[in-house]
Amino acid sequence: MSDVSNESPNTTARTEATKPEAAVARPVVGRLVPGEAAGAEDPSLTLRELSAGALLEVGAWPNRRENVANRLGELAGVTLPGRPGRFTESPSALVCWIAFGRFIYVGAAAEDTARVDTALDTEDAAVVDLSGARRIVRIEGETAREVLNKAVAIDFDPAAFPAGALAQSVIHQIPAVILRRSETVFDVLAPSSLADALIDWMTDAALEFGYRVEEPGTIL
């Protein structure tokens, strides 16, 4: 756990005018501040927060999976992955098959919440809007997998866990969904109320490799 205080040791020497700048110049616990860098002169990792227009969990009733998968595929404009533990994406949506009967639908547009909800029959599935309930952190770089492997004992070798693979696991006691977007890019979905703690852990874990924080982006 990092230092929980953002105060520099010489707080008393600060003036009102320098306070905000002084806070940005060093790691801020629990928040990603664009432009912040730490750990190395030439950081090998970048961190940034991503947003989504819509983020929904879809729970298919037993034996309704095919209907649900077909509907989600049509909505997203993708062919769904063949099994849980995989995701597929189009420019407008990303469909994660997270467990038997359970999907996460990430849409680029806020209207996707209503679109998906109305497109699915309640006899087939239940839809829960998680748009405000998840935050997404991207870690990118050659050593990103090493950082994640400090928390999760999952084989991130590209042969075992290629781009398009996902894992639900626990990072720093926080339930997380890890999406491998490419060989060096991982997106981590975490409950909003715990995302500050995830960022706190991640900045700490990334420190030995060095990281730079980039401007927030979108997941699609």
Binding site: N63, G82, P84, A99, F100, I154, Q168
Partner: protein, 97 residues
């Protein structure tokens, strides 16, 4: 100890919580023999060797699993999906690879 989840693949035991003996069956509620209900709630074998038990993949897919584990060596010889999605799991190839 690692458990090979049929949905998620091999994961450390810390991601799972133990759900007890996987062989006990609750007597039908119409059964009035109280001994049968006492046995269901309290009486367990304490086997030395293979044991069928329930594990919940709470830190992963959140499915319930029926695991055959040797209580002496921790060797796991079988992991099956328990519950309503067991049939679906059996029909999807490549899951948990």
């Amino acid at each position: 100890m690692r458990i090979h989840c049929p949905c998620c693949g091999p994961r450390g035991v810390a991601e799972f919580s133990y759900g007890g003996d996987g062989t006990v069956r609750r007597p039908d509620l119409s059964v009035t023999d109280t001994d049968a209900h006492v046995a269901y709630v309290f009486e367990r074998e304490n086997p030395r060797g293979p044991h069928v038990e329930l594990w919940h993949h709470i830190g992963g897919c959140r499915h319930w699993l029926r695991v055959t584990r040797d209580t002496l060596t921790h060797e796991i010889t079988s992991v099956e999906m328990a519950g309503r999605f067991a049939g679906e799991a059996a029909r999807i190839s490549g899951a948990g690879a």
